[in-house]
Each structure stands twice: as structure tokens, then as C-alpha cells.
């Protein structure tokens, strides 16, 4: 994908659009671009909502394609334990990893992560 995208959130938006249209490969590339080419290039750090969101979306696509190891590699960009200090992102990161574990047949580990996410959701919804 060679599209020039000066607008920082553009790759993210493009990813959402392509995913909605069923173009999983295009959406994945857009999300990866959102994370690496734009977000980190501009900020020098993976912090912020956009790289985090792009990472989770990319991992979801990889997981849905059965590419579990790659999905975990993408998720490993973030320390899930550190994220649990932020209810919203912690909840999403735990569930994203849980979905990958489930796909790998690691049901018990997946269930444990889902259950850790639920109190974060409750905290967020207070």
C-alpha cells in the first residue's frame, strides 16, 4: 500500500473502512501502517490511542485469519499488565489476547483473561 496519508488518523479510518467492506488484507495493512508509519513516526512512541487501537484491530484480523502467532507478536508491542491500569485499554487488550488464546485452543488461559477483563469493564461503566 503506497497511499500517501498525511492525515494522522487516516490509516486508522481507512482500516475501519476496508474492514467494513470485508477487505481484511487491506484493513490489516492499513492498521499496521497506522501503527508504524504514522503514529510512531510522528510521536516517536507507541503511546496514544491511535497506535493502541490500530494494534488491537490488526491483532483481531490476524486472529480471525488463524494467524495466531503473528497476532500475539502484534499484541506483544504492549505490556498488557501495564495497560490494566487503564480500564478501557486494559479491558480491550486482555480480551484481544484472550481471543487469540482461544483460537489456539488455550481455553483455560483465555477464560482467565476474559474474567480479568470483566472488573475493568465494571470499573469503566461506573
Amino acid at each position: 500500500m503506497t497511499l500517501s496519508m498525511p492525515w494522522r488518523a487516516g490509516w486508522q479510518t481507512l482500516g475501519d473502512h476496508l474492514r467494513d467492506r470485508g477487505d481484511q488484507a487491506g484493513a490489516l495493512q492499513a492498521y499496521l501502517n497506522a501503527h508504524e508509519r504514522v503514529a510512531i513516526a510522528h510521536t516517536g512512541t507507541p503511546r496514544g490511542w491511535m497506535p493502541m487501537s490500530a494494534t488491537l484491530n490488526a491483532a483481531a484480523i490476524l486472529r480471525n485469519q488463524g494467524r495466531y502467532a503473528e497476532a500475539l507478536d502484534v499484541l506483544d508491542r504492549y505490556d498488557v499488565e501495564a495497560l490494566t491500569g487503564m480500564a478501557y485499554w486494559g479491558e480491550r487488550a486482555l480480551r484481544a489476547r484472550a481471543h487469540v488464546y482461544a483460537g489456539q485452543g488455550r481455553d483455560r488461559e483465555a477464560l482467565a483473561l476474559f474474567r480479568r477483563a470483566n472488573p475493568l469493564q465494571a470499573e469503566r461503566e461506573k
Partner: protein, 446 residues
């Protein structure tokens, strides 16, 4: 003649007991167990593939009828596991009994919502939504469903498969057990009752919020031949197979993936059976997924169940080659809601296989609490409550069988699509417990 007697007894509305005590030796030892399996492809043609809601479907995967015939002494029974939403064919049960000398036949539908339905039962004008109008046995002529070419062909294929299984009996042993099953994929109770008593239908549960009541367990029966080779694995679990509902595709849903995985792991000689439990209020966590992910989730759901079943199967004690088998059919009159003068008949087939497992077939969708109550009242032999299981008499389909508490609370399955009195489910459980106590006590050596 037997059909005539059954008809007379049903007409009289008397709780009927037809107990078959299996032939035994004078010393009390049961005879050798024989088993036979067969499978029939019951996939509709592209033109025949129309679901219960009258929506056409594409062919995604084949549908099967899997038959297990068990014989001990002079008594034979057949369990037919069907990749269908519902199949209550009196013709199949009656003909199988007559032609193949079977005492009992259980037609157990997986309840996959991605299966075809006979033209005569589809929800469309002028029939309309018969699931919301009282006793389905009075809504249309169930025997006339055979006018549908796919349905008639399915009946014939099932009968042929029963014949094949009954003609291929081998000396067998049977063992069974129950173990825990908690999965990311299923199940949750879809009736969320708020503190103020309001009922919210929670069809899916993608964040795995805790719900209750649930039965986080599965049952496994393993049939082994005389050489020690596994030949059949039967899995009992309760959850609506609705992952592919309204997908526009014909699919066995998660029970199909479960069977495929077990057979791939154990080899072609093994036949896997999914027997639906009391799934009236239970759904899988993930529904309405999109694209390939939907197919993946349904497959993973079945594989997770298969893995747990295989793990449990490995821990089971050696099989019993001469289990005491008892079976009977009970007709339980249950009042209709709002009019206790009118009754419907729930025909249960209650069977025990040695001291480890029993089957209780129920021609409706019992809420899971009934399964829990049955097991709590009589934990041994482990009673498998089979929902969507027709055995040739009484109501062809009793729709939902809620608990009295659920009826008081309301919601789908409790006050919608349910026509029996609130105590109907409890009466069915009580009848099953009574039948099991009678059978088991009588067959326990003194």
C-alpha cells in the same frame, strides 16, 4: 398391534409405562452388549434448502443422521443424532420398531438453526408462526410433512441407516462419565434477570459476563469393540447451535465441528454423536459474527467441545461388556397454560446403560435448570436430559419448557413460545426420576 395399544393408551391420557427389561441370565448377569453404527447424508438439494423461517439457504456443508443401535439380550434400541433443527417423525419411529425389531427409537436433533425445515412446517402464510400458538401437534399435520420430498427422503435415509446399523452389530463394551467444561465459546444463560425483576434477553455474550443458571459440564459415552477399538463417542452438552443462524447457509454449526474433530482424532472407524441437552435458555457467547470469522468461531466452538470430550474419554474406566440396560417410555400428561383442563402429552424415553449413565429424552426445549434438578435429585446413573428428542408418541414438539420461576419472570421461552403450564417441566423431571428409580432399583442385584 403395539401401535394400536399405544394409541388407545395415549387417548386415555393415562401415564403409561412400557418397561422393557432386558433378557438376563438366571444368575442375574446381563448378556453381552452389541452395538452398530451407520450414517446417512441428509443434505437437501439447493432447491430444497429452505429454513424454518422460509428463507432460502446456500449449501455450506453436508448434514448427517448418525445412528447407534444397542442390543442387549432380546431388546434393541436406536439413538439417531440429527443435524437438524427439529425432526419428529412418527413414521420413522414406528417403521423402525416394526421393521427392525427395535423397542425404542430416539430421534435427537442437534437443533442447528442453519438446517432446512419441511415445507409444511415453515413459518409463512397461511400457517404463520405456529411456535407462538399453543400445542404444535394441533397446528398442522405432522404426518403430512412427508409430502415434502426432502423430508420424505430423509425419513427413508434414516430408516436405511438404522437398518444398516442393526445389521452390523459387533460385541461391544460401554463406559461413560461426566466432566467439567468451561469454554470461551459457550454457554451463557440468555435470560438476564435484573434486580427489579425485569428480564432482558441477552442473545449473545461477547464479553463473557457471568450468568446463571448454567451447567458447565459435558457427558461422554464411549463404545469400544471387542478388540478395544473405540467405535462411538457420544457427547452430551446443552447449548443452542445458533452460530450460523440466519447466515443463509446450511450448516451443522458447532456440533458438526465437534463430530469432525473427534473423528479426525480417533480415525474413520469411530462415529461421533452430539446429543443436545436442556438448552432452552442457553446460547453461545459469540453470535452474528461476520465473514470468515463467523465460520472460524463456529468451528473453534465445536473443536473446544471435542477436545474436552476426548480428554474426558481418556479418563473413563474400562467399558462394561454386559451392562444392565433398561428402557421404558413414559407419557406424562401436562396441563396447558391458562387451561388446566386441557393437556398435552410429553413422551419421555428413559433408558439406563449399566450403572454409569441414563438417557431421558424430552420432545421440547427444557430450560437448563431442569437438567440440573434431574441430576441433583438422582446423580447416579448420570442422567442425560436430551432436549429436542422425539420417541414416537405424544406431542411432536413441546417448544420451550421453562421453570415456574422463569414463567413468573417472563421473557422469551418463558412467556413467549411456551404453552404448557408452569409446572410442566417439574412434572417431566419428577416422572424421569421416578422411572429411573424404578428401573435402577429393580436391576440392582439384591
Amino acid at each position: 398391534m403395539m401401535t394400536l395399544i399405544r394409541t388407545i393408551k395415549q387417548t386415555l391420557g393415562i401415564a403409561m409405562i412400557m418397561t422393557m427389561t432386558i433378557g438376563r441370565t438366571a444368575a442375574g448377569a446381563a448378556p453381552q452388549l452389541y452395538a452398530g453404527t451407520a450414517r446417512a447424508d441428509i443434505t437437501p438439494t439447493a432447491e430444497q434448502a429452505v429454513d424454518l423461517s422460509n428463507r432460502p439457504m446456500e449449501l455450506h456443508e453436508p448434514l448427517f443422521a448418525r445412528v447407534l443401535v444397542l442390543q442387549s439380550g432380546d431388546t434393541r434400541l436406536a439413538i439417531v443424532a440429527l443435524d437438524l433443527i427439529l425432526f419428529s417423525s412418527r413414521k420413522v419411529v414406528d417403521e423402525a420398531k416394526t421393521r427392525f425389531n427395535l423397542d425404542h427409537v430416539i430421534l435427537s436433533s442437534s437443533h442447528t438453526h442453519a438446517a432446512p425445515a419441511a415445507e409444511g412446517m415453515r413459518i409463512k402464510p397461511p400457517l404463520g408462526d405456529w411456535t407462538r400458538r399453543g400445542e404444535p401437534g394441533e397446528a398442522f399435520d405432522w404426518d403430512a410433512l412427508s409430502d415434502d420430498p426432502w423430508y420424505a427422503a430423509t425419513e427413508a435415509k434414516i430408516l436405511n441407516a438404522i437398518h444398516e446399523a442393526a445389521n452390523a452389530l459387533f460385541p461391544a463394551s460401554i463406559t461413560a462419565g461426566r466432566g467439567p467444561f468451561e469454554s470461551v465459546y459457550m454457554a451463557h444463560n440468555r435470560r438476564k434477570v435484573h434486580p427489579d425483576g425485569r428480564v432482558e434477553m441477552m442473545w449473545d455474550n461477547p464479553t463473557l459476563q457471568p450468568t446463571e443458571p448454567l451447567d458447565p459440564s459435558l457427558g461422554v459415552i464411549r463404545i469400544v469393540d471387542a478388540e478395544g477399538n473405540p467405535r462411538a463417542i457420544l457427547v452430551h452438552f446443552a447449548c443452542h447451535p445458533v452460530g450460523m443462524m440466519a447466515s443463509g447457509r446450511v450448516s451443522r454449526d458447532f456440533p458438526g465441528a465437534m463430530c469432525d474433530h473427534i473423528e479426525q482424532e480417533l480415525g474413520n472407524e469411530v462415529m461421533a454423536f452430539f446429543l443436545q441437552g436442556a438448552s432452552g435458555d442457553l446460547d453461545p457467547h459469540f453470535m452474528n459474527q461476520r465473514g470468515q470469522h463467523r465460520l472460524n468461531v463456529v468451528r473453534e466452538t465445536g473443536v473446544a467441545l471435542a477436545r474436552a470430550a476426548l480428554t474426558l474419554a481418556d479418563t473413563l474406566p474400562p467399558g462394561d461388556p454386559a451392562p444392565r440396560i433398561t428402557a421404558e417410555q413414559r407419557i406424562v400428561p401436562v396441563a396447558r397454560r391458562g387451561n388446566r383442563e386441557r393437556t398435552s402429552e410429553a413422551a419421555l424415553t428413559v433408558a439406563t446403560f449399566g450403572d454409569r449413565v441414563a438417557l431421558v429424552s424430552v420432545p421440547g426445549e427444557p430450560f437448563i435448570q431442569h437438567q440440573l434438578d434431574l441430576r441433583a435429585t438422582l446423580p447416579e446413573p448420570d442422567p442425560w436430559m436430551l432436549g429436542l428428542a422425539y420417541s414416537g408418541a405424544g406431542s411432536p414438539f413441546m417448544i420451550y419448557l421453562p421453570t415456574e420461576q422463569a414463567v413468573a419472570e417472563g421473557g422469551y421461552g418463558a412467556t413467549e413460545c411456551s404453552y404448557v403450564a408452569p409446572d410442566a417441566g417439574a412434572k417431566i423431571v419428577a416422572a424421569a426420576v421416578d422411572a429411573l428409580r424404578r428401573q435402577f432399583r429393580r436391576d440392582t442385584p439384591q
